[in-house]
Amino acid sequence: MTTSVRNLGLALAAAGALSAGAAMAQDVQRGGTAIIQMKGEQRILNPALRASTGVYYITGKIIEPLIDLSYDGYVPVLATEWSSSEDGLEITLKLREGVNWHDGEPFTCDDVSFTAMEMWKKLLNYSSSLQANLEAVDCPDPHTAVFKYSKPMPLQLFVAAMPDLGHPVPKHLFEGTDIMRSEYNTAPVGTGPFKFVEYQRGQYVIAERNDDYWRGEEYPYLDRIVWRFIEDTSAAAAAIEAGEVHESGFIGISLADIARLRDDPRFDVGTKGYENNVAHSTVEFNHRNPILADLDVRKAIYHGLDIDYAIETIMRGYAKPGRGLIPSTGGANYTDDVPTYPYDPELAKTMLDEAGYPVQEDGFRFHLRHRPAPWGEYTQLWAEYFRQAMSEIDIDVEILQNDAPGFLAGVYRDHDFDTANGWHQFRSDPAVSTTVWLRSGQPEGSPWTNQFGWQSDEVDQLIDAAASELDPEKRAEMYHELQRLSMEELPVIFAIEHPFISVTNKVLKNHHNTPRWNSSSWYDLWIDD
């Protein structure tokens, strides 16, 4: 029945043992508390309801996914094997045996089935479109789960989605209750190396060692993890310097402080461990504005942006120029064979002149109302740089500052903007992340989707076809084509590709050793006091 079985379990178990062995060689210290700074606070601690790195940052240690991603590829966690039927309508998972929830109940296929049907399909953002065609999850035995789809589901896509969108939660705690209001949404119960202890809103979350962890008694090494919510970046930088916290992830402190701490021997500063969490800083256009609907204007604007300067001053060098909707960490789906628009303000001016937008009496060619996303320092600076750069090519930009709901409503619901900027994260596979930026027909009000009034049949067809294409090579080609189109048509400028940055106190060992480390379970993290 199954034709393409990829059993990586054995090899990766060996790899795990190897890395563990390496760690042992460094005299692993047991015990201790790791303290982590978080800038934002996700108040729902249920990864099956909220797909967000801010959630995984905490729950990754408590609730494990079926499949995780390592530098060596996808590795089994709660699922040990995965395979797909030829027609792509059925995906079968083998589940790990002998795993218990933190409350002592065994983990079985019923949990996977319940979570998939009740949460992944119905309630989980992003996942609900991914699993839209999921019809049932059958449990032929307690440790086998069969996902049944009404349309073909590429295994590659399924597996790529699982680290983020594949967290099962215990059925026995949720069944028959109002899932959205379950107390376990804020007091998570999972199978992970750490057990939830306490969540003080606005302050901290504490999790402690799970003595009954399935990887064996020696794991985890830490006794406890504490996440502290420190919104103020200066205070956070001070806290990490004062040794009050050990790690600050996802650019939790200002880039100036990151650049400063880079030279401090007490800290590891870098982008390692974020390969799966790459984002694009964007410039978004409202194509309903006839000026911006003109492709030459958009190209001129691109030429007017000194991306390298912005990377150096704003991102402190931790970034590279964007090349369309797929970042360079996108694997086979990525190509750098695309058109580019180097910084050339004179060219930009000429292009604008030719497009019919000469400088007017007031000294400007035209005026733009720009909405910056209020996501913190570098997004703000990027907006202000955009304003600077545009004024150099005689375009006046008025920045309309708003808070998050105001921004989201203004851009994605009311379309009350000319240009906007923000950043958008790439999640392993374009089909579950960036294609929504280009696909037309997105319902009004969905944030981070194509609300730009831009439409291309060719792009739409490519996106749909790629999403259900089972052959990885063909899929990759389609995405290369999409990437080219996105750089040619410039519906959105994917200006800067940047990973996130962590500042880690060197007392932490074994940190940032997977491509989505901050979301992972940290079973092998230890602290050298």
Binding site: T313, L381, R387, S391, I399, Q401
Partner: protein, 292 residues
Amino acid sequence: MSLQSTELAPAEPPRLVVFWRRYSRNRAALLGLVIFTVVVILALTAGIVEPGDPLRRAGAPLTPPFTDWATPLGTDQLGRDVMSGIFYGARISLLIGVVATLVAIGIGVLIGAIAGYFGGWVDDVLMRVTEAFQTIPNFVLLLTLVAIMGSQIEWITVAIGIVSWTAPARMVRAEFMALRGREFVDAARNLGVSNTSIIFREIMPNALPPIVVYASVIMALAILLESALAFLGLGDPNYASWGNMIGQGRSVLRTAPYCAVIPGIAIVLTVLSFSLLGEGLNDALNPRQKKR
């Protein structure tokens, strides 16, 4: 006193002269006036001394002060000239200070005057409204107003005015309640002067001195409120305001402290000058309060 009660005493010097004499007796107030004048000059000459957009790229990012004469006070993260920001920021701070104060005093005077003059149920209703505004923490209300209308400078200014009018309203009301019983008001009523005229022509000029003094307090608070908003990232990014500069400068506080400290000092000095100005005005306008 002379027995001849019809002889006139020698004429007094013009009011302005008397005002200035009283004002200049307070040396701190003179200092306040000097600082204030400097701020005004900064604001007025911004376009001459520092032509061009203060938000433009003026040099290499994070140039320290006193190293490059094109940008004497250095540049910030985006290469914007700090000195230019101080000049143009003075404009914004004064604008916000003055307009927000006018809004606050305008609303406050209107409501306070009506409540204080008419009393009774009018007073009751208006005072309940005032209490309601006073009960909501003003900064929370300000955040809400800015969240609703966005961070345009015009709106921030008006919003600051809206959250600051209760104190002047209470003050005007108290003045009116005291003054409406004064004989000169009765005298005016006895002459058949209308209520509107009594409120605005008879009582108002007498109620104004303490309000003028308090205006300096509101102005200072308005500048502090704007800077706090900007610090929380809710300022208007289209203008170089000192609050914005501090808000953005704090992320480089450790490496380039001048980015936040220079505008910080500008705010402290400006607020200080308003405060000293207020004390001087108080001495000059309400001389009886200070005998020693």
